[in-house]
């Protein structure tokens, strides 16, 4: 089945130690998203890629970076994790993006990576 896969499911890192989370998709979708979700809160969009074009949300901290080496893979890098970065990180895809326009498509999510900071 086509899907979005995130690895690892659980990640523990030390305060200030860089960490990378990965996401792969077999849907061949053009758009990949990274969300941060803290306990009992709404998922918050960090950034998205349309193909290789990177789009950062205005309030995403500089500590968060992303790479998309090809259509299938996308990585989230946290350069110096702080205690406030402990959260569930969700990767999602959608087939298209409508520049300045309307798009009625669902997003497809992976099961997330729960990040803990020691």
């Amino acid at each position: 089945d086509a899907m979005v896969i995130q690895n690892p499911r659980y990640q523990v890192t030390q305060f200030g130690k860089p960490v990378t989370l990965s996401c792969s998709q077999t849907l061949n979708h053009n758009v990949m998203y990274w969300y941060q979700q803290k306990s009992s809160q709404a998922p918050k969009l960090l950034f998205h890629y349309y193909d290789k074009d990177f789009n950062n949300e205005a309030d995403t901290p500089d500590n968060f970076q992303s790479r998309r080496p090809n259509t299938s893979f996308c990585f989230l890098d946290i350069r110096s994790p702080g205690l406030g970065d402990a959260a569930m990180y969700l990767c999602a895809t959608s087939r298209d993006w409508a520049f300045g326009g309307r798009l009625d498509q669902p997003q497809h999510f992976g099961d997330g990576t729960r990040l803990s900071i020691l």
Binding site: L45, A98, L103, D104, P106, F109
Partner: protein, 112 residues
């Protein structure tokens, strides 16, 4: 404040009962979507309703949209213990491509 706000924050019902969750939003939308999230898992898309639609059905799910009141509701009929999850509404905004803004969610507990 959030684009989407959900009500109630938590809902506890018995198996077989209906569950209704509401979502209100502030700005004009292209579509409104509902997602389910089981504990510790990702979000699963349930249903998408476009701004020119008023009601949509999918199995035991019924979604309504009232753009004049900027609100939507999700009805789950004949609920089952397996419906226990958090339910999120998400709005697709006019000129922002595929971007979605999620509400805070309703935590539904269905007791057997």
């Amino acid at each position: 404040s959030q684009q989407g706000e959900e009500d109630p924050q938590a809902l506890s019902i018995q198996e077989g009962e209906n569950a209704t969750m509401n979502c209100s939003y502030k700005t004009s939308i292209n579509n409104l979507q509902w997602y389910r999230q089981n504990s510790g898992r990702g979000l699963v898309h349930l249903i998408l309703i476009r701004s020119n639609e008023r009601e949509k059905h999918s199995g035991r799910l019924r979604v309504t949209l009232d753009t004049s009141k900027k609100s939507s509701s999700l009805l789950i009929t004949a609920s089952r213990a397996a419906d226990t999850a958090s339910y999120f509404c998400a709005t697709g905004l006019g000129n922002q491509g595929g971007k979605l803004i999620f509400g805070q969610g309703t935590e539904l507990s269905v007791k057997p």
